[in-house]
């Protein structure tokens, strides 16, 4: 038992070291791909709070990325506030919007909730376009500052470490979250709402706070995204494609688990970048179709995602061995 436990830590340490030295020997292109995978992993983990643990299938999370990205970028460009501080404001703004979506989830169930979140994202896009004075409207905002004090770096390797830290933070958060009182309460509601009320869980409050936490984290991800891409515009962020990608990554990897987001992102992000590089110019909306198909296949064939599948296989092998 102790031997096994020691092995687990050795494996984790090796993976950590490999991830940390990766930019030293890999070329910039590969570093950039893995970096994006980390970012999407974090976004998928954020989605997981409400989508996986809460069982509310949101297809509007791109809106929270945008709210986060715009909040910190406006603070940065108009008021000179560093995104190291601005990202928390971004989280709060996105979180407040998330609470609104949480209120909607009390009324809208299943596919109707998903449709509602799509509509919500469109609304956010329209508002970002409408308030030109603050958001730059359809022209968006260009980040003109530079320097690490503004979370802006020269090389992809720096962003790689930033995204890596973000992803690890997300992973540790979910590990803690799923064993916390609130996490257990949220899952209880997902599993049976009436029984959850019957043990004293305030369903209303828990759902709203769950959605707010999910959006808060996604908003922080939005800040990091903006800092990397240096340029934000409503139509390049608030895309159904992004919302679907977040959900697909988590569901493919294993929704409602701390590792699902990372597993899904490591598989789907390189795949979609690759496919887009080849076909992107020719077939519009290709990745949306890809995510749709992948989602469908996983939901039908591998409920629990890849993590769930591996875990089941492993458990049954262990049982068989005894």
């Amino acid at each position: 038992m102790e031997f096994k436990l020691a092995w687990k830590w050795v494996v984790i340490a090796i993976l950590l070291i490999l991830a940390l030295i990766f930019p030293l020997f890999a070329d910039e292109f590969l570093v950039s791909i893995l970096m994006q995978a980390y970012l999407w992993a974090f976004l998928a983990m954020s989605w997981d709070v409400i989508g996986g643990y809460g069982g509310q299938f949101s297809l509007g999370h791109a809106a929270f990325i945008a709210l986060g990205a715009y909040t910190s970028t406006i603070l940065l460009e108009s008021y000179g506030v560093s995104p190291w501080i601005g990202m928390w404001a971004a989280g709060l703004v996105a979180g407040a919007a998330g609470a609104l979506v949480g209120v909607a989830s009390l009324r809208l169930r299943g596919p109707f909730f998903a449709l509602g979140t799509i509509a919500f994202a469109e609304l956010v896009k329209l508002l970002l376009l409408y308030f030109k004075g603050i958001t730059g409207g359809p022209l968006g905002i260009l980040i003109t500052k530079s320097g690490p004090e503004y979370m802006l770096f020269e090389s992809q390797a720096h962003y790689y470490y930033l995204m890596f830290a973000l992803m690890i933070a997300g992973l540790l958060f979910l590990k803690w979250f799923e064993a916390s009182k609130f996490g257990i309460g949220l899952v209880a509601i997902r599993e049976d709402e009436e029984a959850a009320e019957g043990v004293g869980i305030n369903v209303y409050r828990t759902k709203v706070i769950g959605a707010a936490i999910s959006a808060f984290l996604t908003g922080i991800g939005g800040t990091i995204y903006a800092q990397w891409i240096h340029f934000i515009r409503p139509d390049i962020i608030v895309k159904l494609e992004y919302s679907t990608q977040i959900a697909a990554i988590d569901v493919v990897g294993g929704a409602g688990t701390p590792y699902g987001g990372l597993i899904g992102a490591l598989i789907l992000v390189p795949l979609s970048l690759y496919l887009n590089a080849i076909f992107g110019g020719m077939i519009a909306g290709l990745s949306l179709i890809l995510y749709g198909v992948v989602l469908l296949v996983v939901v039908v064939m591998v409920p629990g995602g890849i993590y769930g599948l591996v875990r089941r296989k492993w458990l049954s092998r262990k049982k068989g061995g005894e």
């Binding site: 009182k181 257990i184 899952v187 049976d192 009436e194 959850a196 019957g198 043990v199 004293g200 305030n202």
Partner: protein, 241 residues
Amino acid sequence: MLEVKDVVKRFGGLVALNKVSLTLKENELLGLIGPNGSGKTTLFNVITGYYRPEEGKVFYRGEEITGLRPHLIVKKGIARTFQIPKPFGRLTVLENVMSAAMYGRKAASRSEAREIAMDWLEYVRLKDKADVEAKALNIVERKLMELARALSTGPDLLLLDELVAGLNPSEMMEVVKLVRKLVDERGLTIIMVEHVMKAVMSISDRVFVLHRGAKLAEGRPQEVSRDPKVIEAYLGEPIQV
């Protein structure tokens, strides 16, 4: 301890409860019986806040709790089980029961909740299943887990909805003994809805008979089982004591 006063609950044109009144003394075990559709579960749902009655009131320890949200009723000290068990399938048995300790009346910390949960799991003899996912339990285990979960909220009043239905006779007697012990040894007050006459009659202090949403009879088990109205309601089904 509990007073239900002239409660009326309608579903469209159907009157599920028609001016039902019921009082319950501290540390009493009340058997609530009646044919299918007589309103037993509806009455539970009214008491525990799942339904708001059209008329009438519910008092608990002198305080009106009519139509209070279910999670607030739990915090007053009333817990229930469901007729068809409602496990949190993908949580472990321990987590299921812990959730009740953390969110229930005691609002226990995680470590306290763990202790409370383990104690009750031991009480219902489900301790060795603590780390199993709840969806893997069989029907008997699910019912026992529901009992442990309800108990973990820290109730003074416990409402059991057909806890022993579907159990075989020996399991049934085991569970029935557990329920009786909760009243005798732990000081709980219990209302027990049951179809199995033998189970109710053997352990109840008092029996309350509902028929078509209204009270048909009330009294000690022996009296009720001899009551011609009750016998007629059950279409002559012999009631064994």
